[in-house]
């Protein structure tokens, strides 16, 4: 290995913990060294485990079992003091739990007819402005936005037109929440559709199709004016869209990269640096990328309309941790470079990415 190779960020495996159930999602509990693992036990019930990082190992603090397997969870819509967890499960139920008192959910609604594939929250954790809201995307093709203060009905519902055959929604994310009114939701579907909904005007702002099913979407920051959106898909491709300039017909400019032959399951931006993100792959690998902006972010096309210019993406480091897909990934918002990933080989791994300051 050359000296230059050692100067790049290294993905150091810190702790590895074997679990006895299928892990679907793992999340850091904000402002702590604790992490949450969500999954499904062999007997078809849902499992929530709370671990704490102690020394070189993970110590199990709590284990909570629920009726239905849990697919996804987020802390995005709660305050830093409450730290309630919002989860979506296999039965289409959205629940918000207080982890101190997990017997009864703080908020519960049967939001969808089928499994909730993805969930995201905005407005909490001291990030951004506006009301805390949760968005869920489900296999029944609908995307619903919930406000924890309003029971039973969603505050926004994106569903297919009557008679249209539905497509599974695989991923949802919030963005553009820089003031109290503005907010967008971006949803990715299994046929490659990406749709951007503006919640202020309650309309479809932009849509495109990237041919392969969209596995994961994330804005680089939820609480600023839309800057970049990364969409990952099947067959190893991901696209980075520059969201600052929307052309009336061409939409947003993008650059795409084919990282590996397998599905890219997740993309997560580093909370401390929005130009660095990590993608996790179906072959058990993690790739760390850096986005470089172009010299000019927008230019005029032949008719004089503004169109965006996409930059370039470079690979900083990659590592293969497992033979099974790494289905969930989360950066710690408190410690730069600390991240947790969960794979289908029933292991949760805590990694540390070094030298991120020098990138």
């Amino acid at each position: 290995m050359s000296a230059a190779g050692l100067e790049r960020p290294q993905l150091v495996s810190h702790v590895q913990q074997a679990l006895s159930y299928t892990l679907f999602d793992c999340k850091w509990v904000p402002r702590s060294a604790r992490l949450l693992c969500l999954g499904s036990a062999a007997r078809g019930t849902g499992l929530l485990q709370l671990y704490e990082l102690r020394g070189g190992r993970l110590a199990l603090l709590r284990e909570i079992e629920k009726a239905k397997p849990i697919k996804c969870g987020t802390f995005g819509a709660t305050s830093l003091q409450q730290r309630y967890l919002a989860t979506g499960d296999f039965g289409g139920n959205l629940n918000i739990w207080n982890l101190e008192v997990p017997e009864i959910p703080v908020y519960s609604v049967k939001g969808h007819k089928e499994i909730i594939n993805s969930i995201d929250g905005v407005g909490g954790l001291g990030i951004g402005e506006g009301a805390p809201e949760i968005v869920t995307g489900s296999r029944d093709g609908t995307v619903k936005v919930w406000d924890p203060r309003q029971k039973d009905t969603p505050v926004a519902n994106m569903e297919p037109v009557q008679g249209e055959s539905k497509r599974d929604c695989w991923t949802v994310t919030f963005g553009n929440a820089y003031n109290q009114e503005e907010r967008v939701v971006c949803a990715g579907y299994d046929n490659g559709d990406i749709k951007l909904f503006d919640l202020k005007t309650m309309s479809l702002r932009w849509e495109t199709n990237i041919k392969n099913g969209v596995c994961s979407l994330e804005f680089d920051r939820k609480d600023v004016n839309m800057n970049k959106l990364v969409a990952t898909s099947l067959e190893g491709k991901f696209h980075v869209f520059d969201m600052r300039t929307q052309h009336p017909t061409k939409g947003f400019a993008s650059v795409s990269e084919k990282a590996q032959k397998s599905t890219i399951w997740q993309v997560r931006h580093l909370p401390q640096n929005r130009d660095i993100f990590m993608t996790s792959g179906g072959a058990g690998s993690l790739h760390l990328w850096k986005y470089e902006y172009p010299a000019q972010r927008s230019k005029k096309d032949s008719e004089g309309a503004e169109m965006g210019v996409a930059g370039s993406v470079s690979l900083l480091q990659n590592v293969t941790l497992s033979t099974q897909p790494i289905s969930s990934l989360d950066w710690s918002p408190d410690k730069k470079g600390l991240c947790v990933c969960g794979a289908f080989d029933q292991t949760v791994r805590v990694l540390i990415v070094t030298k991120l300051n020098k990138v």
């Binding site: 290995m1 050692l6 290294q10 150091v12 810190h14 402002r31 702590s32 060294a33 990082l53 020394g55 070189g56 305050s79 003091q81 409450q82 207080n98 101190e100 008192v101 009864i104 703080v106 506006g130 009301a131 805390p132 809201e133 936005v145 406000d147 309003q150 009905t153 969603p154 505050v155 926004a156 519902n157 994106m158 569903e159 297919p160 037109v161 009557q162 249209e164 055959s165 497509r167 109290q180 009114e181 046929n191 490659g192 559709d193 749709k195 309650m202 309309s203 479809l204 849509e207 199709n209 041919k211 392969n212 099913g213 099947l234 408190d334 410690k335 470079g337 600390l338 540390i352 070094t354």
Partner: protein, 423 residues
């Protein structure tokens, strides 16, 4: 006959013999010199010099210097003694011969031994080199491992430190907040006496909502919640956005469909429509519409429906002449032939139709099922039941839910079993 060289001169010391042999005009190479411990020979055809030495010498350390038309030998004696002469005095022919052969043998053996020794040393050298490289690589690997380990430890330490900091910070914050809360409560108490009821319902609702919160954070979360409540906008008014999904020619997602095959099928269809066979000379006197294969196909279908099979066949024939790439023409003509009991023609046409219906895609499922069924029927009517059954089973594979095909297949199976039992 070699030319003997007899002009040589020699002198000796106690331990060595110095022999000089002049060779004018002849080129000497080391290969021409042959020496063992008792025998020395220099042979440069046609010249020859040989000497049976008086006493044994140490031939490995002896040297021969070639230069200036002269060879200068330095022969080290095995035993320190003075020689009477260079060569043995009375050497008869046989002895000479024997000595010569001996010398040659000895030389051979020595050469062999030397070769073996060389091999052994080479092996050892190789082994040594390998071990050295292995050690180097090992060292390199270890160095990298150590670096990684150091990184890991550094990072772990940092993590622990950070955790401690977090804990301390939390404790501090808690103490601070409790202090503040106490102060604020005191203020509130004072204010409450002055403020009217509008404040209380607000607090009341917030209190009931926050009942589920427990734990040490509960006390001051209420405090901050209160403030925030007044700043948060009301929940959005519910609205629905209706969406459409990207349409595709084939209703399956990219990963589900067999795109390549479907593309091929679409292309073939497009080509077929465009193909116009030759032979328009005879058809010039036909009307415009009669030159359109689709129109002819429809005409044929109509005649088939009315039962005029011969006319239908004619229509299809003409259509085929115009465009021989449309599978449906062959398919329909096969049906006509079946009705007319032209069984061989029916088989031909169904086969041609099936050929044109590759690649197999969901789009041309119906057509393929019909083709298989018609061919199967024709085979059965020709009493080729096994082939017929094959075709029916193929049709069943494409369309497993079709009951008539199933029934017919069963019938054929029984027939086959019946005939085999009889024969």
């Amino acid at each position: 006959m070699p030319v003997w060289l007899r002009e040589y001169s020699w002198r000796q010391s106690g331990s060595a013999v110095y022999l000089s042999l002049p060779l004018r005009g002849v080129r000497v190479t080391p290969a021409n010199i042959f020496c063992t411990d008792r025998y020395l020979k220099v042979s440069i055809p046609p010249f020859l010099f040989e000497a049976i030495l008086y006493a044994p010498i140490d031939d490995t350390s002896s040297t021969a210097k070639i230069g200036n038309g002269i060879i200068f030998f330095t022969l080290y004696k095995k035993e320190v003694a003075m020689w009477d002469s260079l060569t043995l005095p009375n050497a008869n022919k046989e002895k000479l011969q024997y000595l010569r052969e001996n010398a040659v043998l000895k030389a051979h053996e020595k050469a062999k031994e030397e070769a073996e020794a060389k091999k052994v040393t080479k092996q050892e050298h190789k082994k040594h080199a390998l071990e050295a490289t292995m050690k180097l690589e090992e060292a390199e690997r270890k160095r990298i491992e150590d670096l990684k380990e150091k990184e890991r430890q550094k990072v772990t330490k940092e993590l622990e430190l950070w955790k401690k900091q977090q804990k301390d910070a939390e404790k501090q914050k808690r103490v601070q907040k409790e202090g503040e809360l106490y102060q604020v409560e005191q203020l509130k108490e004072k204010k409450k006496e002055k403020i009217n009821k509008t404040r209380i319902p607000n607090e009341g609702t917030s209190k009931t909502r926050l009942k589920p919160t427990k734990g040490c954070y509960g006390s001051y979360s209420m405090f901050s919640e209160n403030l925030k409540e007044e700043q948060l906008p009301a929940p959005r008014s519910a609205a629905t956005i209706r969406i459409n999904f990207t349409s595709r020619v084939f209703p399956t997602a990219l990963r589900e469909s067999c795109v390549a095959e479907e593309e091929e099928w679409l292309r073939k269809q497009a080509e077929a429509r465009r193909a116009i066979s030759a032979d328009l000379s005879e058809l010039e006197d036909l009307k415009e519409e009669e030159k359109n294969p689709d129109w002819l196909k429809n005409k044929g279908n109509k005649m088939f429906a009315t039962g005029n099979y011969l006319a239908a066949v004619n229509a299809y024939n003409l259509a085929v002449r115009l465009n021989n790439k449309l599978p449906l023409l062959y398919l329909n003509r096969a049906a006509c032939h079946l009705k007319l009991r032209n069984l061989h023609k029916a088989i031909e046409d169904s086969s041609k139709a099936l050929e044109l219906l590759t690649p197999p895609v969901p789009d041309n499922e119906n057509a393929r099922v019909k083709a298989y069924v018609r061919r199967g029927t024709a085979f059965c009517q020709l009493e080729l039941y096994t082939e017929g059954l094959q075709d029916y089973e193929a049709a069943l594979k494409i369309d497993p839910k079709n009951k008539t095909i199933e029934k017919d297949a069963e019938k054929i199976r029984h027939l086959i079993q019946g005939t085999t039992q009889d024969s």
